[in-house]
Symmetry: C2
Subunit: 674 residues, 2 copies
């Protein structure tokens, strides 16, 4: 039996339905003056409808609706059009859904400037042209080399491209490294890389700018071809490579691993995009770009968080070879939620989980259904949430198992798979966690490679890199007006009252309230107070400000020196936690456009705090960065394991309730004496 | 079906059997010249057999035996006798078990000096005298006060004593705070504390040195009594207190929480003190003092660790009231393993776990059996250990669930319950973790209290404190001769080979080998390299040193300024990780005697590294400290929750295997296209 009842309020945050995507697409196609194509192979020089996604309601409107003080906000979609014909990108707001009648260009509202066309994500259409270009301009001239070196042709080499595409704004030059034709292609580099300039939307202007073969650079295909044929280049001699990256089991199943069951049925329920679980309720969605998110997170009916969402997953690589020398991946520019594929029962999530389909429209001609791409399950964590055994003066035992609700997607963006979890505990805590698995990115081993990682296979370097993840944590504690507090300990020398000549260092509590955005931007490389709190001015029963603490789990490396032009596009990664005053116009810490115009990013998070607004009794948003330094090692072959490769943030009540709410859990167990 | 077969080698690390304890006890009693008593109420002025515990074999002997190069080491016991009659403590080695015929005083061998009698743990016998003393000297004179203020008598006030007992070596003065008679007594202070001097082994010399009532100090009981009766003291007026610390459920069970089952039986086996689980095997034991430990930890038959053990759990408290102003608890001086009580099925461990009994002899007249005090279970962690979904160029899925073996005890030492886990993963990683739960220590709220914590109940302060846990990690990687390496990243400015005028900051790998104990003592308050490794000089297939990485999870506060006399007793807490050259004589980082002679501790860990020995190609031991700062809050009532309140260390292979060993797991799953 559920404690609560489903309602329709969560739908205000629901992703677009298949029908809504279609309606928006059709509406856009009817705007003949925009001259938009929805064909997947639309050329870069044409106008392509790249993305349709929910446009989130203004927070004030949504809150008024949720709190019964306003009508349901009009449902709106964001449409991203790559106007190749005009040389710019536009974002349109389209409304009202499900039957749109209006649209408006909101590009400069949102980004304060025009979006240049080369800030766009490479589309399926552009990839098709790139592959055709490579065949015509590269592979067809190097058949002998490909055969002798790799026993391959252009068709049997897999391309792995690197980003950013150049070194300055406007550039669109991509180093493409070629890999053997295995599903583990990412760890199968052959030692051949090509730099293609595809800056022009007109593919006939594209050009090969440089090639790398066996560690040596060549200016042109002809140059490489000539030197290869003349024997003046040290050849790679083909050697059959084993599929060392195969994930095929080598052992027969022994016995089934332990399985979890709901012996008396599920204690949670999913209806549309609303989840109820014991004292918890929330709405959920999956943005094609930023991925998983929940809204209106309530515990015992009281809103704790307005939004908790993934914002960005960023990695910086090191290498001596060009393919990964400059690599900085910004996954939300390709689409994090875009790659939330079907979850495998019994592996990705427990068998008995509830699986939810999602629908997306990103770089496709029609909306696409992704079956079972979200899973929701209650899990027995294998430990008590709390317990005490008394045997001094009293004999008794009280405790309860830690059984919590997990909300999960796994996004496989090329080589890497990120597992995203939001976990709802019976103690009133919520956790946002990410773990990395899948294939590392690897490069062909040449002289000097080992400065950038470890060898992990024959002629293969596992490149050193970082993982940085940004979460948006919009807690609203007893209303939207909150403050940011820190707490820590400090030893103070005090005289003992019963022995005044004797002094001792005694720990004291040190509390502070940080009052401006810049004070509250806590850099990774500085000592920060140990406890960070979003607090209400409302007091608990004992006179303390009701708060939630943000406990960050991170093993982050260094993100990038600020001297680098690319750093502004990842300026959120400077901070373990940064607090801003909420603005609807500051919806995300990154953008679809940061990857491909990294030098002049459409969203530079540091601007959110540059105005150094007051954060005293304001609607606060915490931007939390977690991550880890990854020095690949042989055990990353075939796949990185999740254990130890993760990070996140635990949001836990601190003087928020008058006592631990799990005392009211039906899972409590007690034994008295006799 | 198990992959391995049990053998008897693990018995070399087995705790004493009930019969062995009895034999040792009887042997000691036969040594008439020692004049030992085993009665639980033995007076401090007599000679009391306090402890019998396994004396671990010399490592070289044990290794020779395990590796088939030596005979089974003679089994020996350590016996601790509190020689009240002589004024010292002795440790005796007694052998051979099970039928001892010899004993030897090993005190100065082990501690380089005599152990003064007042370094002893307070025994049940001394407590009995203390309670009698309190009744006679305090309660019987204050019946009116107790009745009017607390509606209590001496019999219905629960004592909670603080440590250390004084301020200098030889002191044995204990502040005892009185608490209401609830099983949640720790959070029920009444506002009455008494300082008792029980320095003499002769109780007739004991004295009340000071009293605290309602925040005011009194020199004598008579003084308090007189002032109370004359009305010149502000009285506490009794008010019925609710049992706000009760763990009794307030809600009826709703539906059973999810449960885990072994549908095809257990994949692990426990025989005596040996565990086999898939590719893992290990021996285990439970020291009455230091708690849980495992030995001879092997993966695929190859020893990874000789020993992995809990060493100490230490807490420093802050308060304005004397009871908790100086408090520094050293749990191994009371006994961590001593309080490993029965685990509750379905709460402390899953129902289907294997439960093991343990036997102990500490401050008892006969060996005691603790039923089901260790649990061992395989747990589906609710996530994949690894997975990859391919949809670029290839379509396939490979993954496996993270199913791991957990070895657990929970020790309830007074107010707090520590949950200790060693977790064995199929990726070859082992994790040592601790979580805290149970009751916080609390003090009566007076003026100034709030500098040291938050109010958590009526007139109750939850005192700020730290948790510091020390683990001993004796990895032996391909033999005992290893080195200590660090790895990290560093940005280096390089010119791009294909564009030499352009420079970029590119991450490089920085590796170091630390060569002496002092170099390798990594202080908590300094920036330490991100990767820490114990490495062999043996290379993996790709030419890299085979190593295990130590990844420490910790949210530690500050342990104690080194200016404090008490700090030497916890000098291990200075270091996140410290590496020493293994010595049989440096078996533990703390001792049974550190608590009660904290100013002149029997074991000062910093001495292990003071000789700054070489750690190059030596048998290395890593001493790992994890912990967290605890600022109690209302949700610590009734019990602290485990979520977020923990720490530990993950030991993970890094270039140790040639690939991730989980690829050989029977749990692997693979789908190809079509
Ligand atoms: Ca701002
Ligand atoms: Ca907020
Ligand atoms: Ca030493
Ligand atoms: Ca060792
Ligand atoms: Cu990685
Ligand atoms: Cu605590």
């Amino acid at each position: 039996p559920l404690r609560g009842k489903h309602d329709d309020y969560s739908l205000v945050f629901a992703d677009l339905t298949q029908e809504e995507y279609s309606q928006v697409q059709q509406y856009m196609l009817r705007q003949k003056n925009l001259d938009i194509s929805t064909h997947q192979l639309t050329k870069p020089s044409d106008n392509y409808l790249f993305l349709i996604d929910l446009s989130l309601p203004k927070k004030a409107d949504a809150l008024a609706y949720l709190d019964g003080k306003g009508s349901k906000p009009v449902r709106e979609a964001t449409v991203v059009v790559f106007h190749g014909a005009q040389g710019y990108i536009k974002e349109y707001l389209v409304w009202p859904l499900p039957n749109p009648t209006h649209h408006r260009d909101v590009t400069t509202d949102r980004y304060k400037e025009q979006l240049p066309i080369n800030a766009r994500t490479v589309t399926v259409g552009e990839y098709a042209l790139l592959f055709r270009f490579l065949e015509a301009e590269v592979f067809s001239h190097l058949e002998k080399l490909l055969k002798e070196s790799f026993n391959a042709s252009g068709k049997t080499l897999n391309a792995f491209e690197q980003m950013p595409r150049g070194v300055r704004s406007g550039d669109r030059q991509t180093w493409i490294a070629f890999h053997r034709d295995f599903s583990s292609m990412y760890i199968q580099p052959v030692g051949f890389e090509v730099l293609v300039d595809h800056k022009s939307v007109n593919a006939s202007y594209w050009a090969v700018k440089r090639l790398l073969y066996n560690g040596v650079y060549f200016d042109t295909v002809a140059d490489l071809q000539k030197k290869y044929d003349s024997g003046s280049v040290k050849k790679i001699v083909y050697k059959k490579s084993l599929d060392y990256g195969s994930l095929k089991p080598r052992t027969k199943p022994l016995q089934v691993a332990p399985q979890q069951f709901y012996m008396e049925g599920k204690r949670f329920s999913v209806n549309h995009n609303q989840v109820l679980y014991l004292d918890w309720s929330f709405a959920f969605g999956l943005s094609s770009l930023t991925g998983m998110r929940v809204f209106d997170v309530r515990f015992k009916g009281e809103r704790i968080a307005y939004e908790l969402s993934v914002q960005e997953a960023m990695s910086v690589y090191g290498s001596v070879t060009p393919g990964m020398m400059l690599t900085k991946f910004f996954d939300s520019s390709i689409g994090i939620g875009r790659f939330a594929h079907e979850l495998v029962r019994g592996v990705d999530c427990p068998y008995a989980a509830t699986y939810v389909d999602t629908y997306r429209y990103i770089d496709v001609p029609v909306p696409v259904r992704f079956r079972n791409s979200i899973c929701i399950f209650e899990h027995n964590m294998g430990q008590p949430l709390r317990r005490h055994f008394a045997d001094f003066f009293h004999n008794s035992y009280g405790g309860m198992v830690n059984s919590a609700l997990v909300f999960r997607t796994i996004t496989a963006i090329g080589n890497y798979d990120y597992m995203w979890d939001f976990i709802f505990y019976q103690s009133g805590a919520v956790e946002a966690k990410v773990h990395a698995t899948g294939y590392i990115s690897a490069s062909y081993l040449v002289n000097g490679s080992l400065k950038h990682g470890h060898q992990v296979a024959e002629n293969v370097l596992g490149n050193i890199h970082t993982h940085f993840i940004n979460f948006k944590v919009d807690l609203d504690l007893l209303g939207v007006k909150n403050v940011f507090q820190t707490k820590d300990m400090e030893f103070v020398n005090v005289s003992l009252p019963w022995m005044p000549h004797h002094y001792a260092m005694v720990p004291q509590l040190v509390e502070n309230q940080l009052k401006t955005e810049q004070e509250a931007a806590l850099r990774y490389n500085t000592k920060t107070p140990r406890y960070l709190h979003i607090a209400s001015d409302k007091l608990n029963r004992w006179g303390h400000q009701r708060s939630y603490r943000l406990q960050v789990y991170s093993f982050a490396g260094d993100h990038l020196p600020e001297s680098q032009a690319e750093e502004k596009a990842m300026s959120w990664a400077r901070y373990k936690v940064a607090i801003t005053k909420h603005k609807d116009s500051e919806q995300t810490s990154s953008s679809l456009y940061n990857q491909n115009d990294v030098w002049s990013p459409a969203v530079d998070f540091s601007k959110y705090i540059a105005d150094n607004e007051s954060i005293e009794n304001e609607d606060l948003v915490a931007w939390v960065t977690a991550g880890f330094l990854h020095i690949p090692h042989s055990e990353d072959i075939p796949n990185t394991v999740t254990v130890g490769n993760g990070g996140g943030v635990l949001l836990r009540p601190h003087n928020y309730f008058d006592e631990d709410p799990s005392i009211d859990s039906p899972d409590g167990v007690y034994f008295g004496p006799g």
